[in-house]
């Protein structure tokens, strides 16, 4: 049983993508930080375990879990039916919107307006799946391995349109104010949860319990607000008990 293994090792290995500001990133002093990182830190502290961050990429999050490179994944991981087939999820601890962002000057209101344009997305993310579904035939997608590289591509003017989370648009505007990226339309709102290997009910229950407590006491909301500048959506907070 995995919970026993973790408890025995006094250490929990959490896979986090450190290239997705503000979820996971390095600060100026090169310390890991971000909402996912603080969530993981809080979890480890509450469970009385040492935290080992396993750096991962968007596409590698689930393989890492499957091949035991990490015990759990806290890495802006949205709950999707495809993923539920191969891994288990905890109850949601945060929410994330999949949006299409572009500079203010561009006139885009729906997927149809993307016709003939170049859109950036990050391989293996829900954003990628959503945009692939709705994109007009004559538009192209350029995919990168992680959000950071995608952001680099936008910031360095490789492309202008980005299928992503709203918070990443904020990051781009900080780095390259001339871009004036804004949300053009929302594709979907996803629940973020902790990813676990299948068939570990004890660990899952333990984490679910922890999420409920911390949603109730507002600690998770505080972390979210600190990095994303908004409160958690109500669909998430209602799980607090």
């Amino acid at each position: 049983d995995q919970l026993d293994t973790i408890t025995a090792a006094k250490k929990i290995r959490v896979a986090i993508d450190l290239g997705v500001p503000p979820y996971g990133m390095k600060d100026d002093k090169l310390n890991s930080t971000g909402s996912d990182v603080e969530t993981a830190q809080l979890l480890a502290k509450d469970l009385g375990l040492e935290l080992e961050i396993v750096p991962t990429t968007g596409a590698n999050r689930i393989p890492f879990l499957q091949t035991d490179k990490a015990d759990i994944v806290i890495s802006s991981l949205s709950v999707t039916p495809e993923r539920e087939k191969v891994i288990d999820f905890s109850i949601p601890f945060a929410g994330i919107a999949a949006v299409v962002g572009a500079p203010k000057s561009m006139n885009i209101k729906s997927a149809a307006d993307l016709s003939g344009k170049k859109v950036v997305s990050t391989r293996g993310t829900t954003n990628d799946q959503e945009i692939t579904k709705i994109l007009p035939k004559d538009a192209t997608i350029v995919r990168f391995d992680d959000d950071a590289t995608s952001i680099t591509a936008i910031v360095s003017n490789q492309a202008d349109i980005f299928a992503t989370a709203p918070s990443l648009l904020k990051v781009i505007n900080e780095k390259n104010p001339a871009k004036q990226m804004e949300v053009k339309f929302t594709m979907k709102v996803n629940m973020l949860a902790v990813g676990l290997r299948k068939g570990e009910p004890k660990l899952k229950e333990k984490i679910n319990g922890w999420i409920r407590v911390n949603l109730k006491n507002g600690k998770l909301n505080a972390i979210y607000k600190k990095f994303h500048g908004a409160d958690l959506p109500e669909e998430v907070t209602k799980n607090g008990a």
Partner: protein
């Protein structure tokens, strides 16, 4: 670039060197085995070694990395650390290339040397160890040093699948929080150059010396 960032880049260079040295030792041993297998008196061994080399040389390092990273887990060995997976992939890769380089060097030692050693009554292994390999070593040094450059450069691929923290990976991480690709990738390129260029030069000097003493 801040002091921390520079340290971080240099730390990456250390990671690169670590992986390179590990690869060179393990890959060198495997390559020697492969070279010997390629000229083994047993046909089966020769064929197997040739097939191994053909297959490895036809596979991108990126795919080898993936196989070595996920493979041990799949076949039940358990999870391996990134450094081990990367070193394993690089070792497999080097075994094929060094094996071929060294086989060529061993075979370029003239057949009459083998015969002369045979006529004094040396066993096959004594002939190899005392007569052929010492001579092959001299010929093999320049291309081997040249291949070390390949190893150092190719460690950069370890970051793509495995996320092993070497120089390219750290440069990317830095870029990901600052978005100044010119600076960080430029610095990384310079650091790689600083590691590789002396080896390239050395290899060329060795080669010139070898040609001079031969001609």
């Amino acid at each position: 670039m801040t002091h921390e960032q520079l340290t971080y880049l240099l730390l990456g260079a250390v990671g690169t060197l670590e992986l390179s040295v590990l690869t060179f030792i393990a890959g060198g041993l495997a390559g020697l085995g492969m070279a010997l297998a390629r000229i083994s008196p047993v046909r089966g061994v020769r064929v197997a070694a040739a097939a191994w080399i053909q297959v490895v040389q036809g596979t991108p390092l990126l795919v080898l990395m993936g196989l070595c990273f996920y493979g041990p887990n799949i076949i039940g060995i358990g999870s391996v650390p990134a450094l081990v997976a990367a070193a394993l992939a690089m070792t497999i890769y080097s075994s094929a290339f060094l094996g071929e380089i060294w086989r060529g060097c061993i075979q370029s030692v003239h057949k009459s040397q083998w015969e002369a050693a045979e006529c004094i009554g040396l066993t096959r292994w004594q002939r190899m160890a005392k007569v052929v390999l010492p001579q092959a070593l001299r010929i093999a040094t320049p291309p081997t040093v040249g291949f070390m450059v390949q190893i150092i450069k190719n460690t950069s691929i370890a970051s793509l699948v495995i996320g092993f923290a070497e120089l390219s990976y750290n440069a990317k991480v830095l870029n990901n929080s600052t978005f100044q690709p010119f600076i960080y990738f430029g610095c990384a390129a310079l650091l790689y150059f600083a590691m590789c260029y002396p080896l390239s030069r050395w290899s060329r000097t060795l080669e010139r010396k070898l040609n001079a003493t031969r001609g």
